[in-house]
Symmetry: C2
Subunit: 163 residues, 2 copies
Amino acid sequence: MKLTLHTDYALRTLIYLGIHTDRLVSIREVAQVYGISENHLVKIIHRLGLGGFIETARGRNGGLKLARPASEIGIGDVVRYTEEDLGLVTCMQPEQAAAGHCCILSDVCRLRGVLGEALASFMTVLDHYTLEGMITPDERRRLGGREAGQAGNLSASDLKPAG
Amino acid sequence: MKLTLHTDYALRTLIYLGIHTDRLVSIREVAQVYGISENHLVKIIHRLGLGGFIETARGRNGGLKLARPASEIGIGDVVRYTEEDLGLVTCMQPEQAAAGHCCILSDVCRLRGVLGEALASFMTVLDHYTLEGMITPDERRRLGGREAGQAGNLSASDLKPAG
DNA sequence: ATAAAAGGTGTAGAAATTATACATCTTACG
DNA sequence: CGTAAGATGTATAATTTCTACACCTTTTAT
């Protein structure tokens, strides 16, 4: 059991945006800072936009920013949204649950209830935290003074031109 | 985020064994009842044996049984054992955590702590239940009177001979 | 108006994980 | 000894996840 990189990246992107609320941040910047695939990040960020977590601006000087203050973005909400498949066992997959015939244990299967309860508990913990809580002074220091290679070993002008 | 089929099957097998405590159950029987691959189940069951959850007996009239009463087998323990990889994000993978340099968020990353707490909460819920709690009278009725095709649509003698 | 910068979208393929099948060995019982 | 049942290892198939590439759309600066 683990969260997908999808969720991992989404959370990190949000944290980064939460630190840089004074300006728009480009996808490329986020990808470079964390050393992850820009192409992959594009899709994750797009989804975050659809989900209303961030606002995007196209065109020159465009970029990303949080749609709401970090204090109003719940970690649980992000995970719930990013992690599409929260059915823990085959019993809980929508198709099967809908059809009513999951495993032979069927609807009297307590397993489903217990796992569901555990999952709810998991989410409840996450719901107690907001993005703001993820941003410590230490991190702000680490990722905050970035402009010219504080965060990584690259300067803003090092970004490859286009092709 | 979801548990592997591995865990799913392991739990179901244990439930089945918990219902049939009066005799040894063969792997083939479990596989047929749930309609899952016998070959796959073999390995899962082997691991359950290594983990001390069940006892196996080889040879003619061999089979499986719970190593302890169902009331002493915690669901959390089973999941913890079966689900090897409980690191929720790359931050938490042992290799990386050990090396101390996970993501650039590094050790001041609160994310890790929060996800860890959520996971602990998840497991705590599971720890409140034992295998015994998973076995309801309904299920016992459903899987209990099996001998000749109550559970599936097969009789004990329908099991394919060998090759 | 045009060019450049940045996000949006779709597809294809690589890599990793998970599940299944097959073959063979070991053990226990009769 | 022969058979039934678990133990083990390997190989293949299926699925999921990740990456790369190509091209489109929108916005802004000149």
